[in-house]
Symmetry: C2
Subunit: 201 residues, 2 copies
Amino acid sequence: MIRVLLAEDQGMMRGALALLLGMEPDIEVVAQVGRGDEIVDAALLARPDVALLDIELPGRSGLDAAADLRTEAPDCRVLILTTFGRPGYLRRAMEAGAAGFLVKDGPVEELAEAVRRALRGETVIDPALAAAALSAGPNPLTGRERDALAASVDGATIADIAASLHLSESTVRNYLSSAIGKTGTRNRMEAVRAARRQGWL
Amino acid sequence: MIRVLLAEDQGMMRGALALLLGMEPDIEVVAQVGRGDEIVDAALLARPDVALLDIELPGRSGLDAAADLRTEAPDCRVLILTTFGRPGYLRRAMEAGAAGFLVKDGPVEELAEAVRRALRGETVIDPALAAAALSAGPNPLTGRERDALAASVDGATIADIAASLHLSESTVRNYLSSAIGKTGTRNRMEAVRAARRQGWL
DNA sequence: ACCTGGCCGTGACAAATGTCCCGGGTGCGG
DNA sequence: CCGCACCCGGGACATTTGTCACGGCCAGGT
C-alpha cells in the first residue's frame, strides 16, 4: 500500500481527492491537512510514502514545506498539486526537491498514476509546462524588489510598504521602479500581476 | 435517479466531484462542462434535474447562466458551488433564482445531501453566510462605477479605462473617486479588493 | 586591489492619480 | 412640475507615484 499525505485548503477538494485516492486498491490516504504549517508535523507522525501538496495554503507555502520534508523526512517523495502552472512555481518546486508537479486542470486519472510514478522514482511534469519554465529564465528580481512588490498587493501605499519593511519611502520607490522596469510594465499593479503570473511573487 | 449537470472549470475538481456524485446510488451525472457559455446548451440537451454551477468560469459567469436556466429550463433546480462565500455572490445567486449556495470549503458529505434537498424544493444556504449577506446590505455602486472599477483591475491606467469604456478621462476619475469613497478605501487597488470581497465586482 | 552587484538612502522632477468644485442632460416617481 | 439619482464632462488643485541621477556601505569574485 502506498501511504499518501494530502495537503489542500479547500475542504471539498481535499475530501474529494482523498476519497478518489482511497478507491485505488494500492493507495491509502494516511493524513489530511488544510494548512501549510501542519504538513511537517503530520508527515513525521504518519510517515507517508508520498506527500501531495498544494502551494497556496494558509499558514505556510507548500513549497517551503516541501523543502523541509527533504531533510526531515528524506524518504518521502513530494508531489506539488496546484491551480496555476506558473513557470516560477515549477522552478521553485524542483529546487525544493519535488518529485513532480501537477496542475489541477487535467483529468483526475493523472493523479493516482502520478503518485505511483513518483514512488517508482520517476519525475512527473507536464512537458509543455517544463518548456515554459525553461524559456522564461530565472527570477530577475532581487530579494528586496520581491519584498516591495509582495507588500504592495492589496493596495498598500508607498508609506505603508516603507513602514512594513522598515525602509525609507524613497528606497521603496526605487525598488518598485526597478521591479517595474524588469517586468516591462507600466505601474505597480501591472508589475505585481506580471510577477505573479511568472510565479516570482 | 437524480440527473445532475456539473459546471466547473478545474478539470481535477470537476472529475472528482463527478465521480463522487456518481457513487451515490440515487444520483447520476448526465453532463459536465468546463465553460460558462456551454451551460445552457448542455442543460437543454441533457435535461438535468439539478445544475451544480461554479461562479467564476471562463466564457460566462455561472450566475448569468443560472438566470437563463430559470427561463430556458424552468424545472431545473440550480445550486451554486463556489470558492468564495462573498455576500454579493449569495445575493445575486438568490436573485437569479438559485435553490442553494455552497462553498467549496466544508465537507464533501454536504454535497450529495444538498442536491437531494434542492430537488425536494428546499433552499440550502449556510446560515452564517446568509447573515453576512443580509448585514452587508445591497451593492451601493452604480453601474458605471462598477464598470470603471472592473476595468481597472490588472493595472490599467485612467487612459486605458477611458478608452475601453468610451468615456472621457475626467469622467473615469470621477467614477473611480466616487467608488473609492463608497468603499471607504484610499485608492483604486483597495477599492477593487473591497468590492471583490463583497462580491460587487 | 579592484570591480560588480545588491542594499539603502537623498533630492529633484514629470506624470499619474484622487478630490473637489462646477456645469448639463436624462428619466423616474411624488 | 419638482426633486432626485444617475449619467457625462470640464477645470483646478494637492497628493501620490514613477523616473533619474547621485551618493555610501558591504560582500563577493578576479
